[in-house]
Symmetry: C2
Subunit: 157 residues, 2 copies
């Protein structure tokens, strides 16, 4: 029998909340962009289940980095061009919001950690991190948007 007496943190998911919101928002905008529709932030957060102002700020950062287009005013909103959708990889979204330490950094936080001077967990993590990096690098936004469109995957719950 075994149970945890104190759980110090409630945090570490794979990505930050900001990153989760950003990925989901991008996927939703992509599905609508496939239909040629621009979407407003209010529509996005309703479909994605994320806080409005926070999500808007994140999408602003992604827009500054060229991953999504935004237009102010009536009939404005967010839009992702077809070519953009096909070329952007999930790793780009993650890099903008969370940086790259989850798939490049040392698992124990050492500033230098490599095969020559490895941390104790190094050999255990090297394959996992490269698989994570590869997964994020190889999957396109279009691919994930198509999963939503076909009803095979979902964005909330």
């Amino acid at each position: 029998m075994s149970f945890v007496i104190f759980l110090a943190n409630q945090y570490p998911d794979m990505f930050s909340k900001a990153c989760e919101y950003g990925i989901k928002a991008m996927i939703y905008v992509a599905t609508q962009s496939l239909k040629g529709e621009r979407v407003k932030i209010g529509d996005i957060v309703e479909k994605v289940g994320s806080p409005e102002a926070f999500t808007a700020k994140i999408l602003g950062d992604l827009a500054k980095n060229g991953l999504i287009e935004s237009l102010k005013g009536p009939y404005g909103g967010f839009y992702i061009r077809p070519d953009q959708m096909e070329s952007t990889r999930i790793i780009q979204i993650v890099s903008v919001i969370d940086g790259d330490s989850i798939f490049l950094g040392c698992g124990l936080g050492l500033s230098e950690c490599n095969a020559q001077k490895p941390c104790p967990m190094h050999s255990k993590f090297v394959k996992i991190r490269s698989e994570l990096k590869n997964a994020l690098e190889s999957t396109t936004l279009l691919e994930l948007a198509n999963g939503i469109k076909s009803g095979q995957t979902i964005l909330v719950r």
Copy 2:
């Protein structure tokens, strides 16, 4: 050409700082316990490069969960029994400090996410998460302590 304009977060490593400190402290205490020596918190943080009071608190939580023994007073300090060292897995340390959402939770933060109702990243992550869980489950504290003892791995830098 491509560069990130704004990096929102500076956070996400694989584990929280608390967890990194906890794992490294446990490994160092284990190496000394192999020699039959109890170690004081001041010695630990010097070898591990972590803040003293914070590390003490983390070790206190691990002690409450039975992963390490502590003794107050002169000649006191932290100690890990040989049997303890061999039986405790890294996943136990991580679970106490960070919980299990990094190797059990949904990558996009959905409360329910499974093969029937998958998030868009589900199929990409299911293998990676299980490999991470397996790695943490299969490696013992003794194994990592031996890596330090033999000079094959390091705890700082």
